[in-house]
């Protein structure tokens, strides 16, 4: 998936200007990191891509389509093409790991055999195939995080967005998860990861977009 931001601004109803004049271009199949201080606007930028929030100025163009032209009814279809790992929308504890991961497939009406096959493939990728019957409550923080990633990729999205996916994980686990993203990127998925962890980001050797006070201060001018 190809994404282009053109002088995008987002002013919340509270009057808070979370993003202003943000421009950048993510090529199809590219992987990039998004960094910046707390409150810089990283999460806001990802929410705009998911159409959870709408920009108040500028254009966001996804695969040649201006997101402003999409109606409310088209939003679910858009979201199905994007896999997300957002911290505040984690797993549902009233169902097994398997059914958590199956959710994106169920909502798009895949048939049960297809669902089972794809869920197991996704769980296999994150190394949790043997935990499919567990309740996510019974898993460690890192395992839960990986279930979230499996859910994000089970639908074979064209874009993977991860907001602080390594938030409170130890360095070893963080690196493992980053490697996972890299693997998905290698098969052609466009990946954007928001992270505070500058050391980890530097080690990954990918393009880095840096936000400060809602402005793109580096990484946006090329690509």
């Amino acid at each position: 998936m190809e994404i282009e931001f053109q002088r995008v601004g987002k002013k919340y109803e509270s009057g808070q200007e979370a993003l202003s004049q943000v421009s950048f271009h993510l090529q199809q199949g590219e992987m990039a990191f998004l960094t910046g201080h707390s409150g810089a606007g990283k999460s806001t930028l990802m929410k705009l891509m998911m159409m959870i929030e709408r920009q108040t100025s500028g254009q966001i163009i996804v695969d040649g389509v201006d997101l402003r032209t999409l109606s409310r009814r088209a939003i679910p279809q858009h979201r199905r093409r994007v896999g997300v790992v957002f911290q505040n929308h984690q797993l549902l504890f009233d169902r097994s790991v398997f059914h958590n991961v199956a959710l994106p497939l169920q909502v798009s009406g895949a048939d049960p055999q297809q669902i089972a096959k794809r869920v197991r493939a996704a769980l296999d990728k994150v190394g949790l195939l043997d935990k499919e019957k567990y309740n996510p409550m019974a898993l460690s923080g890192g395992e839960q995080q990986r279930v979230g990633i499996a859910r994000a990729v089970v639908n074979k999205p064209q874009l993977l967005l991860a907001d602080e996916p390594t938030g409170n994980l130890d360095p070893k686990l963080s690196a493992e998860i980053m490697n996972l993203f890299q693997e998905f990127n290698r098969v052609g998925v466009t990946v954007l990861v928001a992270s505070h962890d500058l050391a980890l980001v530097a080690r990954m050797r990918h393009r880095v977009l840096t936000l400060s006070q809602g402005r793109m201060v580096s990484g946006g001018g090329f690509g």
């Binding site: 959870i52 163009i61 979201r79 549902l92 009406g109 639908n155």
Partner: protein, 335 residues
């Protein structure tokens, strides 16, 4: 679409190449659709079981709310079936002038039976009248003491139309027409009491209708409230579903099916209540009916009416859920 084409020459091509990947609306696939609905039907039933107490209470309240108008309906039906029989007994009785000759009376009788709105005319001569009188009452003494038969010739006119509220005005008109015949002294339509009864019945009917409407509204509110609580308790799930691309319709569906189950179960228990109640009152009621009219069967909810009751309650359940859920789900926004 792109404002700066010079910056990236590839944009046009990439737009073309990717445009067909943009599925704004997927094609309708019946198999997929049915499968989803079937899965939702069972899943929503499981949801009811996950709040057993609230569900049982809701179903019972619905059952009670529905069995009240249902029971009154059955009562009315029985009253109707009794009064339907009474209706056929109504006749217009013509008392002819006493000095009238038999031949004149017979001529009138023939003329009237040819009239289009009259089914038959029964001729009761003075002698027959006297015999009837002697047989049926304790007047024998008086009658035999009279020098001559004081009774007039009587014609019992049976109109074609049955007497009920709708035909009453035309029958009254017929009565007036018959009364204006020169041979007729006095014409009596034996239906005033029936009009009173019909009025009471139509009052009863309207009362049941009004009560049904009120209680159906109550059921809407009950179902709506329970479903609203169910949505609220699943707020997190709704948010996650929206995040992974569920449509509002998809999220709504299991809740609508919950409403459906509430309605069907409520209707089922209401029908059961009515059947039990009818059975319970059946023997005293049967005795009461037999006092007035033999050969009448006590009416209860029949199969058609049970199906109707279930259909209405299922419908009301779904509507109640719809009202509660449609705006609510749209208002649960990701942030």
């Amino acid at each position: 679409m792109t404002q700066k084409p010079n910056q990236r020459g590839a944009t046009r091509e990439s737009i073309k190449a990717t445009q067909h990947h943009w599925p704004t609306r997927s094609a309708f696939q019946p198999g997929k659709y049915l499968r989803q609905h079937q899965a939702t039907l069972t899943e929503s039933f499981m949801r009811l079981l996950s709040y057993p107490l609230a569900s049982v209470m809701t179903v019972m309240v619905i059952a009670i709310a529905l069995s009240l108008p249902g029971g009154l309906y059955v009562l009315l039906k029985n009253v109707h079936s009794v009064t339907d029989q009474w209706e056929q007994q109504s006749v217009i009785t013509l008392y002819l002038f006493p000095e009238l000759e038999d031949t004149q009376a017979l001529a009138l009788s023939h003329r009237l039976s040819a009239q289009a709105d009259i089914a038959s005319v029964e001729y009761i001569s003075k002698e027959e009248g006297l015999r009837y009188f002697e047989r049926s009452s304790g007047y024998e003494q008086i009658m035999s003491s009279l020098p001559e038969n004081p009774l007039p010739i009587v014609l019992r006119v049976i109109p074609k139309a049955d007497v009920d509220v709708s035909t009453l005005p035309s029958l009254q008109a017929l009565r007036d027409q018959l009364a204006s015949q020169k041979e007729v002294d006095y014409a009596e339509l034996d239906a005033q009491w029936l009009q009173r009864l019909a009025n009471i019945l139509s009052f009863g009917q309207r009362f049941v209708y009004a009560l049904s409407v009120l209680l159906v509204v109550a059921v809407l509110l009950i179902v709506g409230n329970t479903i609203r609580m169910a949505v609220e308790s699943r707020r997190n799930e709704v948010l996650v579903m929206k995040l992974v691309g569920a449509t509002d319709a998809y999220i709504r569906r299991p809740f609508l099916y919950m409403g459906f189950w509430f309605g069907v179960l409520g209707g089922f228990f209401a029908s059961l209540c009515i059947l039990l109640l009818s059975w319970w009152v059946s023997s005293p009621a049967q005795r009461l009916i037999e006092l007035y009219q033999s050969g009448l069967q006590l009416q209860t909810f029949n199969a058609d009416e049970i199906v109707l009751c279930l259909t209405i309650s299922a419908f009301v359940g779904v509507i109640g859920a719809w009202i509660a859920v449609s705006r609510h789900i749209a208002n649960i926004e990701l942030q």
